[in-house]
Amino acid sequence: MILALAMLLASAVLAAPAVPRLRAVSAVFLPLPLLAVFGMLLARARGVLAGEGEREVLANIAPLSTDLALRLDGLGLLFALLVSGIGAAVLVHAAGYFSENPSTLGRFAALAYLFAAAMIGLVLADDLFTLFICWELTSVCSFLLIGLKHGETEARSGALRALLVTGAGGIALLVGILLLADVAGTTSISALVERGDEVRTSAAYLPILGLIALAAFTKSAQAPFHYWLPGAMAAPGPVSAFLHSATLVKAGVFLLARFHPVLGFRAEWHVLLGHVGAVTLLVGAVLAFAQDDLKRMLAYTTVAGLGTLVLLLGIGTEPALRAAMLFVAVHALYKASLFLVVGYLDKRTGTRDLTRLAGLAVHAPVAFAAAALAALSMSGLPPLLGAIAKELVYEAKLGAPEAPLALAAVGSAGNALVVGCAVLVGLYPFVRRGAPPALLSVPAVRLLLGPLVLAAVGLLFGVFHDTTAAPLIDAALAAAVGEPETAEFTLDASPAVVSWLGKATLLAGVLAVVFRRRLLAAGRRVATLASAGPTALHDRLLEALFGAGSAVANVFARGGVRQTLVWPLVLFVGIGAWLVVGGVAGWSLPDFTLDPYRALLLLLVVGGAAGAVRARSNLSAVTSLGIAGFGVGMVFLVLGGPDLAMTQIAVETLAVLLLLAVLGREPVEPEPRRSRAKLLGNALAVAVGATFTVLVWAAAPDGSLPPLATELAEKSVPEAYGRNVVNVILVDFRALDTMGEVFVLAIAALGVTALLRGASGEARGEPVLGFVGTFGRSPILRAAARSIVPLLALVAIVLFVRGHHEPGGGFVGGLVAAAATLLHAFAFGIGATRARFGPGRLVAVGLAVVLASGAIGLLAGGAFLEGTWLSGRFPAVGKLGTPLLFDAGVFLVVLGVSARVLFGLLEREGAPA
């Protein structure tokens, strides 16, 4: 059967491009794949009916300990035959229906094949995952098919509604089967069926039942989920005929039948399914009777039929299940046939309105024949198959262990209305006296072949019931029954009562038709409530969701940066609080030794910080910031970090310059005094600071060096040839970090340049560095520059070269070199500086040098960034090797970045070119 599915999928892919080319001949080709599948199924039927079904594995998914597998048994065979057979009939009809629209026909065919493959896969699935995959695929196909003519609003909204309802059911199914697999320990359905008792007695039974029932009810349009089916009638006729009468909507019923051996035989099953089925039957029947649109009438009768099926499955006795199986087939046959006839009528007369159709028996005799046969089957008249079904149904209801009379009563009432509908759809438009609306010419053969065949099958199988239908039904029944340990008690219903009931229903149905108008007037309010109620609820639920979404979006998208800061800061403070609360005891007191000099430095830092907060103008804020930064630099120096101190001070200088350049001298806008937000902000800030302090105290080591530090220091000279341990770490041990750092620098330069270039049109305050304009090109400056610039350059190089052994290094050297170029620019103008030093690609060249220095290590047979040294020592430098080249690259990048940023700013400030 895997072959069959593959063939259908292939047909789906080919259909869309191929069909428009085939045009009129398509009617012959279209049903072929489905007929072939039908044939394959028949070929295996004998084996299946004898009880042997082979398992075919699609794929093995070891991590989930499951096989994706198919297995053909009686139940699957029944449904699969229905899908393929009815599908073939529908496709022929579709060739006629879409005869003027070949591209739509192509799309329909493709989706129909896909759907058929999914549906057949669903009914043949032997493991839970395949079942689910196919289930969801049928929902998607249904969505796309309902929206086949998506230019129409109703098609779109109908499709969406269907998708949501069946989608919700799908999710429920997924959770349900996961729970089921967890409880039963297997995903194979054949194995699952044998473990029914385990499932029934487990604690998870109720959730599983609820979820799977929910899935079934949504798919099979049970109340209160029935409202999506009429909406789906916005789909073109063939879609409704195929999916929403015969196949897709039966999937829920199939699911219940499939899981009956596992989940049935418990009171909850009977109660749930029984009630829902009964209500659905009534609701569907009443609403159907109230419709004027034939298609909608058929839709609602389908709902009623599905209700009956669920009800029968709820009863759960063997006769009930047999009745259900037969009714599945019967219903599919007559319903599909009627839908197709209505489609024909729609095309022929342009309307589906009951009140306008009349007297068509003469003009459409073939249609009349098909419709009549189908309607008679629907009404349960012998010798059609429908009669046998009806008998069985009544038998089952009367034989139910609980409330047989109530069930019979409900069933009869519903059926009476259904009979009425059968008359209205199948006979009325043809037999009623009156003039038909204007008739159009249509490809009658294509349109009517299908329904005629289907209706005829209903007759044939009715007449030759024992040889044709019965064995199939028996096989299906076997699969659905399962083998429980407790036998069900069945009442025997007397044949006389059954027969009497049948006749009474017929009579009631005909009477209902006669008195239709009066009945409708009486029940109109109920009818509107039942049909519009759930839909309105659905829509209101959606509105509520969208509203909730808006609220969420507003809460979190409103406000700006401050809000995005507050949350993390609050959480951060939470961590601090937790730390304090959790572990105050057992802390070693942090070290509070201090000498006056250091105390002064710390005070400087704190003072600068405070000053920055309280400053009234940008200038004072930045100055205070600078003080704080320099103070920290001095702290670094005093505590043994000379390289660090140099870098800190140099970077601080740059930061201050940058801030001055972009902020200008404008005063700060006055903040609102004493607002609550301000107080909260202060509180938060203090809390954040306290958290940091507490964290530092908790995590700071206790004075002894970690072994890693000692190892680094000890290996610095012998293995890395450098006496400045920090620098050696930066350019050798952890050169990768420094490499990242220079790339980050380069990116920042790119960013600043992009920003300045992009915003060149906007003016900003008074340029603080505007003095450049006045100063620049002063002869004094030039004279000084001529000697100072080379000196600075020399200092830069010295700093760089000695960095490996004494404080210094590429970074600081690069900064000093940048200072030199800045001075040059002040004195001689940016253009001249550029011409001389050309920082154009300097950054990129620096990056390349850095990468190359690492690559040399590779070429020399070592690792990337491995230090590769020339043998022998050189004056002033010691050993020469790739780390020095690396540092040179850093030098170039720093120089290039600083120059780019500074020059970019200067140009904005109006410095002379």
Binding site: P63, L64, L137, A557, L569, L708, A748, A754, G758
Partner: protein
């Protein structure tokens, strides 16, 4: 030592540097070519890890912790492959859609630097280097956001930058504090030290700081607001790049640090993160439902989907971690595909506002088809990748008896389907409502679609080839839970 472990990072850095040196006219072609080379490197690494197990490389010839080492287990390898893939797809679109000012600002180079940062984050074993990698990718993303954009992009960049700077500061604090506690930055060793220290309040607090930093970068509830405030203003290609990779690095860091360094802290962090994950899923999808522009809607989804990733992390079982591994890959691919498709819609119709769109299925059936595939994948429809991903998450929840999360994840899945259906029925179905953007030739249209189609195919393939992909995910999960192979590979390759 296998050089392949560092190859992705080196290739990205080298190509980026070349892009800076090269002339204007080579930029677009170079972007694509470089991305393909990068993808090849990532693929080679993945193949090696898949075949030979965990690979390691010590840089500079020093064995960690003296130097910095990279290591690639299955999780890292999968993520690096993802980086290469997303990089290639985005490069294909960016090469077509980046305006001239963007090129002048160095967009191609920046893309590669970002990829380098992401790769390094996935591969490094050193905590401080993790910080450096984060900074590299973060700053690249800042500049990419503003490059070639107008004032709106700059405003968005500020909204993105300030919390981003805070997250970096928190990360630096966490790394520094960890060094203070343990005396090392090498993650396996730090983990050993932490184990010795036990679960003292100090350890818990430091772990908390790191978790907060990563959570902020991953954009989980309640610290996610920066994402929808900034991503929608990016170009579609950049939005795809960010959504596909950046938040995932945050999740990766959470997993890596809390399986390697602070596994003991999962006892309290797990349940907390579970609640966070649930809230994230719900808030994200609700926010998405309210949006009427495609890119905005999709960025809210990014938040929601991160919730699914965190569920796996929070539950911490082998099945749960496997779900995270699979989900990361699926989600990035599907999300990037959808965003790139939005880019094509913008290019062809001039807008991504749902009210102004309609009938794309009629006018651009191929685009519609690709979008449909990706949307269904994201919504979890079988047999696409998203189905298996959601299945794994739900299954893990069932096995851990986390019923609330199970219900939330299922419900959010339905809402995700609803939001995808909203886009589909308003923008793709219906009649042509918008004005066409630019007229392009047939060949041009095909090239426009190439990145979208590529990623859609990957989503389909991942769904159909679920078996092997699930095996890789399981292997990754078991390696994460038992890092002995990771540690052993590092020890073995030490010089």
């Amino acid at each position: 030592m296998s050089l392949l472990v560092v190859a992705p990072v080196l290739v990205a850095l080298a190509v980026g540097t070349l892009a800076l040196l090269a002339g204007r006219h080579l930029q677009r072609a170079g972007l694509v070519a470089g991305a393909l080379v990068h993808l090849a490197a990532c693929g080679a690494l993945f193949a090696r890890v898949f075949g030979d197990g965990v690979q390691a490389y010590h840089l500079g010839g020093w064995s960690a912790p003296l130097g910095i080492a990279f290591a690639a287990d299955s999780f890292s390898a999968v993520l690096v492959l993802l980086t290469g893939l997303i990089g290639a797809a985005v490069a294909l679109q960016a090469a077509q859609t980046t305006p001239e000012e963007g090129l002048g600002a160095g967009t191609p180079a920046l893309v590669f630097f970002l990829l380098a940062g992401v790769d390094a984050a996935f591969l490094t074993t050193d905590l401080f280097h993790l910080y450096v990698a984060f900074e590299l990718l973060l700053l690249s993303s800042f500049v990419l956001l503003v490059a070639g954009g107008g004032r709106e992009a700059r405003v968005a960049a500020v909204r993105y930058l300030v919390p981003g700077v805070l997250s970096s500061m928190l990360l630096l604090a966490g790394v520094g504090l960890t060094y203070g506690l343990t005396g090392t930055l090498f993650m396996p060793e730090a983990g050993a030290r932490v184990a010795e220290l036990g679960s003292s309040p100090a350890v818990r607090a430091v772990a908390g700081v790191l978790a907060l930093a990563f959570a902020l970068k991953a954009a989980v509830f309640p610290v996610f607001a920066w994402l929808p405030a900034s991503y929608p203003a990016a170009s579609s290609a950049m939005a795809a790049l960010f959504s596909g990779l950046l938040t995932k690095v945050g999740v990766y860091a959470l997993v890596r640090v809390f399986t390697l360094v602070f596994p003991g802290e999962m006892s309290w962090l797990g349940p907390l993160m579970l609640a966070v994950a649930g809230a994230t899923m719900v808030v994200g999808v609700l926010g998405a439902l309210a949006q009427w522009e495609m890119q905005r809607l999709l960025t809210f989804h990014v938040v929601s989907q991160v919730g699914y990733l965190v569920v796996g992390f929070a539950l911490g079982t082998a099945a749960a971690l496997a779900s995270t591994v699979f989900y990361v890959f699926h989600n990035s691919v599907a999300k990037a595909c959808l965003l790139l498709a939005t880019g094509v819609v913008r290019a062809r119709r001039g807008t991504d506002r749902l009210r102004d769109l309609g009938g794309i299925a009629k006018s651009d059936p191929l685009l519609a088809g690709a979008f449909l595939v990706a949307a269904l994948a994201l919504a979890g429809i079988p047999p696409l990748s998203g189905f298996w991903a959601k299945l794994l998450v739900l299954r893990a929840a069932v096995q851990s008896e986390a019923w609330v999360v199970l219900a939330v994840a299922a419900g959010v899945g339905l809402l995700t389907l609803l939001s995808m259906a909203k886009i589909w029925t308003t923008a793709f179905w219906g009649n042509d409502a918008g004005t066409p953007g630019t007229e392009t030739s047939r060949a041009g249209r095909a090239i426009e679609l190439a990145p979208v189609a590529l990623l859609a195919l990957v989503a389909v393939g991942l769904g159909l080839l679920a078996g092997p992909a699930l095996e890789v995910s399981q292997r990754a999960a078991s390696e994460l839970l038992d890092p002995s192979a990771y540690v052993e590979a590092l020890r073995r390759s030490a010089p």
